[in-house]
């Protein structure tokens, strides 16, 4: 006996794909932004930080609409993507972009905290041993931020997995393409007789969210503050 119907399984698999791809695409940009926030001072830093956190504060529908304006068939970037045969509007790649944007602030916050918790004296020691900035980052800072990184990835994945508003606004609800688990759940709730399916998907969503938050909590339990150069 199958726990989920074929349509629900497709929605679940799509959600995994969209979330994983979205978080993977977000990660390098989030690492760069988090490092800038944790390790540098520059004019307008609070504004920059505020802009990075915007997807966390804006109504998801607004974010989805902005994505539609920019990446839709008539959008500035969307038109170019269409011409290059890389259209993302109303495709799973668009859903992944929406997931990436929504998960991004959580990654940045977690990574920034993780980088700030790394003892800068260790980075200085590495520099005196001849290591350049990239080697210090990849050899010392990033490995020592591993717990924060994993916590951030878990939270970002959960956020991407639960993404609804931006996704449905940007890429609608196309079975097998953009109908992720939360959208499938919404459709079931709106459909007479869909209660049992909605309950099944709710349980799946709760289990995934609990696992993600447990991973994040376990990783963040062993935090600590570090000193700057004396």
């Amino acid at each position: 006996m199958h726990l989920l119907t074929p349509a629900e399984t497709v929605a679940l698999a799509l959600s995994f794909k969209v979330s994983l791809v979205g978080v993977a695409c977000s990660l390098p940009v989030a690492v760069g932004c988090a490092w800038l926030l944790a390790r540098t001072r520059f004019f307008g830093k609070p504004v920059f930080e505020g802009l990075l956190l915007l997807p966390l504060i804006l109504p998801p529908v607004v974010t989805g609409y902005v994505l539609l304006i920019v990446f839709g068939h008539h959008g500035a970037i969307g038109r170019l993507l269409d011409e290059a045969g890389l259209s993302i509007a109303f495709r799973w790649t668009g859903a992944a972009l929406a997931a990436a944007v929504m998960a991004f602030p959580l990654l940045v916050v977690a990574l920034r905290n993780a980088f700030e918790s790394v003892d800068r004296k260790l980075e200085n020691a590495a520099a005196t041993l001849g290591a350049g900035a990239w080697r210090v980052f990849f050899g010392i800072t990033l490995p020592l931020s591993a717990r924060g990184l994993v916590a951030g990835l878990a939270l970002a994945f959960a956020r991407a997995f639960g993404e609804f508003g931006a996704t449905i606004t940007f890429v609608s609800s196309i079975p097998g393409q953009t109908r992720t688990l939360p959208i499938a759940l919404y459709e079931l709730i709106s459909t007479p007789g869909g209660e049992s399916g909605a309950l099944r998907l709710t349980l799946v969503a709760v289990v995934i969210a609990v696992i993600a938050s447990l991973i994040a909590a376990l990783m963040l339990l062993r935090g600590g503050t570090r000193e700057a150069e004396a």
């Binding site: 003892d119 004296k121 260790l122 200085n124 020691a125 590495a126 520099a127 005196t128 041993l129 001849g130 290591a131 350049g132 050899g139 010392i140 490995p143 020592l144 150069e229 004396a230």
Partner: protein
């Protein structure tokens, strides 16, 4: 030849130090907070002086007038920090190899490992080492960088008596075995007498005297602190 001429401001504290010493091993000696470690950090490139010049064996590391300010990675110095700063996620072996230039042959690695008696715990992480072992690994790591000079910041501080004797003995062996310019920061007279050829006495961010270790040993300041240090070690 060690040339230091630097001015540095850290909050309320002002450091103005100028000295030239032909000694191979120079100690910066003085009480806590007099500016010894700030001087060492400036030599290492981790603090930027307001003005001045820092050169070792004619090689300028910092020269405000000449617009020279080499980044720490390019100063080619082996720094042993007071708190060791071993990388906690790396094994002792990987810590030792971290700063090793590619050209360093395996024999050189083995020599340092043997000299500092590190072979028994190469696979351990720093968290599994004693205080003395940690200090020895930090010294080995700095040496394997193949530096033009060694900077030692209170290398025996916060060690219990046995570990202190153990590390001191290794540092003596190092002085005999390696022809390296060394700058030692210490407030322990016995450490200075054992390891330095020349001593710069620093008081409140200024050079009070520059003398040979022999002169330092017989001076009242040195003798007084030596008694205090010994009393502390045996107490």
């Amino acid at each position: 030849m060690i040339e230091l001429d630097l001015a540095l401001q850290r909050g309320e504290f002002s450091l103005e130090l100028a000295l030239q010493s032909p000694a191979r091993a120079l100690a910066l000696f003085g009480p806590s907070g007099c500016g010894k470690t700030s001087t060492l950090l400036a030599i290492a490139g981790l603090l930027c002086p307001r003005r001045g010049r820092i050169a070792i064996d004619g090689h300028a590391l910092f020269d405000a007038d000449g617009n020279v300010d080499l980044p720490p990675a390019r100063r080619n110095l082996g720094v042993v920090f007071q708190d060791a700063r071993l990388f906690p996620h790396l094994s002792v072996r990987d810590n030792l190899r971290y700063g090793m230039p590619h050209a360093v042959v395996k024999d050189a690695f083995d020599d340092v490992v043997q000299l500092l008696e590190l072979s028994a715990f190469l696979k351990r992480k720093p968290g599994q080492l004693s205080g003395g072992q940690i200090r020895r690994v930090a010294i080995g790591r700095a040496l394997l960088r193949q530096p033009q000079a060694l900077l030692l910041d209170e290398p025996l501080a916060n060690l219990h008596r046995e570990a202190r004797a153990e590390v001191l003995e290794h540092l003596r062996g190092l002085k005999r075995g390696f022809a390296l310019s060394t700058i030692l920061v210490s407030h322990q007279a016995d450490e200075v007498i054992a390891l330095a050829d020349s001593v710069a006495l620093i008081e409140d961010g200024r050079l009070a005297a520059l003398e040979s270790t022999e002169a330092f040993k017989s001076s009242s300041a040195g003798a007084g602190v030596l008694v205090a240090a010994n009393a502390c070690a045996t107490g």
